[in-house]
């Protein structure tokens, strides 16, 4: 069985925060305690939607030391493949679901003298857990949080009420923006930057930090890519000797799994590298969307990350 260990949970709370974001609380079906985790970890939620099984990663936002329940927040994506819509429209209090053990690809660097957090939109969720972890250890942190509007500012009230001196909020519709250059310039030696949000924000922060001479190891980021829909295509799986069709709304990894082939995975968001697959033969173009492979590997035609990447063309043969 691929992926992290599984936990059977029951939904014990479903709370709409605003027009886009809903929070879910999970408690173990078997009773007892959930594993502790580290701030920045995510869980992969299994959604059984008729014939289709979707597995989407969501950051854990609850207190990492609270073993009674996990909470996640799901932003509705009307143009996506349906995972977030399924959570919003079909999942209700009392439902049983299966989630994975926590996996952390965005952990705090505990050597840091100070943790500078930069969040955009739903990217706030891993920071909520990290802040709880750091507060317990009396850690030094500061948050800069960009939201579209006050109405869509998830957890702004909670954060500003509990940490009035450490939380800075910026609203797009009021033309407020993080003064990044000055912010980075004023940080004490030993500060680490963490950024989670839309791709544009991550690129902006990483680019500015590099320009200002920040060490690469001091800049941490997490962007989960949702697999994007695309044109259907056909794939031959050489090891299992199967020819499969990848539908418009499913990922290559999901299509491989649907064919009964157990393929390794962890994050399902193009970040962890676990599902890396060797290409044996192809005629056509890859649509690489992962953060894992290097540019040369993308152009080599030798590897693909089936969790987020697709293919357009006549022939694709994979070592799976």
């Amino acid at each position: 069985m691929s992926g992290a260990e599984k936990i059977a949970v029951r939904v014990t709370e479903k709370a709409a925060l605003n027009d886009l974001v809903t929070r879910f609380r999970f408690e173990p079906v078997a009773g007892g305690l959930l594993p502790t985790f580290s701030g920045g970890a995510h869980t992969v939620v299994e959604m059984r939607d008729g014939e289709i099984t979707r597995l989407n990663p969501y950051s854990l936002m609850s207190d990492p030391f609270d073993q009674t329940a996990y909470t996640i927040s799901v932003r509705r994506d009307d143009a996506g493949r349906g995972g977030s819509l399924f959570m919003h429209n079909r999942v209700n209090v009392g439902d049983e679901m299966v989630i994975s053990n926590p996996v952390n690809l965005f952990s705090l660097d505990l050597r840091a003298r100070k943790h500078l957090m930069i969040a955009g939109g739903i990217g706030i969720t891993p920071f909520l857990a990290q802040i709880k972890q750091l507060d317990r250890a009396h850690g030094n942190w500061e948050l800069h949080y960009g939201c579209r509007s006050e109405a869509l500012g998830s957890y702004v009230d909670y954060l500003t009420a509990t940490h009035p001196n450490d939380v800075n909020v910026y609203y797009d519709d009021q033309d407020q923006a993080i003064d990044l250059e000055n912010l980075l310039d004023g940080q004490p030696l030993g500060t680490h930057i963490y950024v989670c949000g839309p791709k544009g924000m991550i690129d902006w922060v990483r680019g500015k930090a590099a320009e200002l001479g920040w060490p690469r190891e001091a800049v941490h980021y997490e962007e989960f890519l949702a697999p994007k829909p695309g044109k259907p295509f056909e794939v031959k799986l050489a090891v299992s000797n199967k020819v499969i069709q990848v539908g418009e709304q499913e990922s290559l990894l999901e299509a491989i799994e649907r064919a009964g082939v157990d393929a390794p995975y962890l994050c399902r968001g193009g970040a962890c590298g676990m599902c890396e697959t060797r290409v044996i033969d192809y005629a056509g173009n890859f649509i690489h969307r992962d953060h894992w492979l290097e540019d040369e590997e993308h152009s080599s035609g030798e590897k693909i990350m089936p969790c987020v990447s697709r293919f357009e063309g006549k022939t694709l043969v994979l070592d799976r």
Binding site: E5, F37, S38, F65, N101, N104, L110, E217, L266
Partner: protein, 355 residues
């Protein structure tokens, strides 16, 4: 099941010995008649009853004496136990993992009672009964990692995970096969493995690192590694090479059966939940050649493995000079019959020695 703890030494008079039960459960590391490096990882989720794989942290008849030996090493050289400042949280993770595992796996020997952060730990074999506040270092006589690793067999490397690499940032290392925590502290995975021959060229470490970075909570892994040690020494450290290195020259055809030991490391890997660090326990098991030869399969196989081992590996493992004498001894236990696959001795089915 009660364990009768040996009263024995791993230095000076070397009164260390294995009972018949300990020999039977010895983790013989060769699953076929030849050896080469491989990323030979498997899930660490139990194993045959009474095997060293059965429990998360194996406790055996050497426990009390090994902990006494560790205390002596640490008294002589406190730098065998080090924890960089950012690794304290991982130390608490390790303390929790070991206390929970041992109290669940050996309830007759260890007890853990928790009331919120007020913990009560009872270690019967070592006569310890302590109450402390979880996550409050001032309530323990040592830091959390040192406290618990003074009560657990094997070395413990606590590896920080960052920047797609693992970093040797904490550990307690007193039973090591000729490497030094004090030298390696702060190094990354490739730096501390730099001295190993052949494996780099085979891409072993790149693949091993990738595997280790992906070890998840609740899914520990394990592998075996091995070397050779003359006399049952736990502390074969570079710091003390001047004491034990010379003992390799004391081997004779008469004493080799009792003096020469196969040293096997059961290496396990656990993700630590609160810190996202990785703990790498390295548990050392020793068995004399003459005790190994009581299993006909092991006699046949050990001869073939040692005979065919590349010179680089025999040199790196430190027994190239003694190899001819080892082979003279071991060849007497190899009758050329085929051996069955796997590491287990198969005492009931493997034919007795035919010469």
């Amino acid at each position: 099941m009660t364990i009768q703890f040996n009263d024995e030494t791993f230095r000076e008079d070397y009164s260390f010995h294995n009972s018949e039960r300990a020999i039977k459960r010895f983790p013989f590391p060769f699953d076929k008649d030849s050896y080469m490096y491989a990323v030979n990882m498997e899930q660490h989720r139990g194993g045959p009853p009474d095997s060293v794989y059965e429990k998360r942290f194996d406790v055996d008849e050497h426990y009390v004496s090994e902990m006494r030996d560790r205390a002596m090493v640490l008294a002589d050289d406190p730098l065998r136990c080090q924890s960089l400042p950012h690794m304290t949280l991982a130390g608490w993770d390790l303390l929790e993992l070991i206390m929970v595992s041992k109290s669940e796996d050996y309830p007759d020997l260890f007890e853990l009672h928790r009331d919120g952060d007020q913990w009560h730990w009872i270690n019967k074999p070592l006569g310890i009964d302590d109450r402390f506040t979880f996550m409050d270092e001032t309530t323990l006589p040592y830091g959390p990692m040192e406290y618990i690793t003074r009560q657990a067999q094997g070395d413990f490397c606590v590896l920080d995970q960052r920047d797609d690499n693992l970093w040797m940032d904490a550990g307690t290392v007193t039973t090591q096969a000729d490497w030094s925590l004090d030298f390696d502290i702060g190094m990354n995975f490739f730096e501390w493995h730099a001295p190993v021959p052949l494996a780099h060229e085979k891409g072993i470490f790149v693949r091993a690192l990738k595997f280790l970075l992906n070890i998840q909570q609740g899914a520990p892994a394990r592998r075996l590694n091995w070397t050779m040690t003359v006399n049952p020494l736990l502390d074969t450290s570079p710091e003390n090479y001047h004491k034990w290195g010379v003992q390799k020259t004391t081997l004779t055809p008469e004493n080799i059966g009792s003096k020469q030991h196969l040293r096997v490391e059961l290496q396990t890997f656990f993700r630590l939940p609160r810190s996202n660090a990785l703990v790498f326990p390295i548990r050392c098991y020793l068995c004399s050649f003459q005790d190994l030869m009581t299993a006909p399969k092991w006699g046949r196989r050990l001869h073939r493995v040692i005979r065919d081992l590349p010179d680089e590996l025999a040199t790196y493992k430190g027994f190239i000079d003694n190899r001819p004498m080892m082979l003279d001894y071991l060849s007497k236990f190899d009758d050329g019959l085929p051996t069955s696959n796997g590491i287990w001795p198969e005492l009931d089915t493997e034919p007795p020695l035919q010469k």
